[in-house]
């Protein structure tokens, strides 16, 4: 089972660095905005087939 990391950068530069770090490891990145049905939000996470074991802030 895989672990989903949760990144919450506070600046655009920090976000770009985190994105680059993830991309350089070929990790799949889902941007999350926070709205109820946005771009970003993995749809229906609670019922998704992928497994979330834990997260890191």
């Amino acid at each position: 089972m895989s672990t989903v990391a949760v990144e919450k950068p506070s600046t655009a530069d920090e976000l770009a660095r985190r994105l680059h770090d993830a991309a350089s490891q070929k990790l799949a990145v889902v941007p999350v905005g926070g709205g109820r049905a946005e771009w970003a939000e993995p749809p229906n996470v609670s019922t998704s087939s992928y497994i979330r074991r834990g997260s890191t802030a």
């Binding site: 949760v6 950068p9 600046t11 976000l15 799949a28 941007p31 999350v32 049905a37 771009w39 993995p42």
Partner: protein, 318 residues
């Protein structure tokens, strides 16, 4: 919105990017970070009697970046267009770590490729929107909403008045809401000529809160829209903006019926996109429908921006 992710290793939240970077009241432009909510931005603009004409469904709580990435709109699109019409600048984080900019913070800015339009509606599949600049609008001097029970005929009547409505919605029970904004004299005249009862303005806030658990957006040529929604399964709940050719369907039927409606919509030159549904339902129906003729160009763009396909894999059409 969008398909279920094929993979998920990192959730990259934009919620802490929530500042107003610059608001030039006199120039009527605002620059914000992508994680600011629409409500927070409207609160800031209201101090100057200005607003951003965005009223997306499933409100409140949308972030500006989310709205740009999804291309979500609401009833005010009839008068003001979609955000791509008043978006004047964008900043995007790319997988190679660069921060790319398109447009600027002034209304007149025509140099270079229009990169803003690439990211608008791309569901974050080409980059992560971190900031945006908009042209904003003055609050109207008069803002009146009227209603009718007259169905499509009433909608046609309201749409063809000398003063066009800023928003017009028709519902599956035949009710019609029309919102007129502008100068006092013009709005009062059209409201008087229509003769429909006036509604409290809060009706739009309640309307924007709509967020069915199984929900599809049907976009079609305006001439085909009424036929498509009237052909939905018996008893279906829907609402539509006939002036822009968009309808929203609160799905209470099974997946074959959705596929059948999608086929009819595409035959009519439109599209049916799933806005929300449980994962198994979404997988069976598919979020997007038949790929557009431009799919090869979209794949090449995706590969150019995100060669390892790490951004939102599986969510968008490419």
């Amino acid at each position: 919105m969008g398909g279920a992710p094929e993979r998920l290793d990192v959730e990259l939240h934009t919620t802490r990017l929530d500042r107003v970077i610059e608001h030039s009241q006199a120039d009527m432009v605002v620059s914000v970070e992508a994680g600011i909510t629409l409500e927070a931005l409207q609160h800031e603009l209201a101090k100057s009697a200005q607003f951003l004409p965005l009223d997306p469904f499933s409100s409140p709580g949308h972030t500006i970046g989310g709205l740009l990435a999804t291309g979500w709109t609401g009833p005010l699109r009839l008068r003001f267009g979609s955000p791509r019409d008043f978006l004047i600048g964008i900043r995007v984080a790319l997988p190679d770590g660069t921060l790319a900019s398109g447009g600027g913070r002034v209304v007149k800015n025509v140099s270079g490729y229009d990169m803003m339009k690439l990211h608008y509606g791309a569901l974050g599949s080409l980059g992560v929107i971190v900031a945006a600049s908009f042209k904003v609008f003055p609050k109207p001097l008069r803002d009146v909403t009227v209603s009718s029970e007259g169905g499509w005929d009433a909608a046609d009547q309201a749409l063809t008045m000398p003063v066009a409505p800023s928003a017009l919605e028709i519902f599956s029970d035949g009710r019609v809401l029309a919102r007129y904004t502008g100068s006092g004299d013009a709005v009062d005249r059209v409201v008087r000529d229509l003769g429909w009862p006036v509604e409290d303005h809060s009706i739009w806030e309640r309307h924007s809160g709509r967020a069915p658990a199984r929900w599809a957006r049907i976009a079609a040529p305006r001439s085909a829209l009424s036929g498509l929604v009237e052909g939905l399964p018996r008893g279906a709940g829907w609402w539509a903006s006939p002036g822009i050719g968009v309808a929203h369907w609160a799905i209470a039927s099974d997946t074959p019926s959705v596929k059948e409606v999608r086929a009819r919509t595409e035959t009519a030159g439109g599209s049916l996109v799933m806005m929300a549904a449980p994962d198994d339902f979404m997988r069976d129906v598919g979020a997007w429908g038949t790929p557009p003729p431009t799919i090869d160009i979209m794949r090449r763009l995706k590969h150019a921006f995100d060669p390892d396909h790490v951004l939102n894999p599986g969510r968008f059409v490419v």
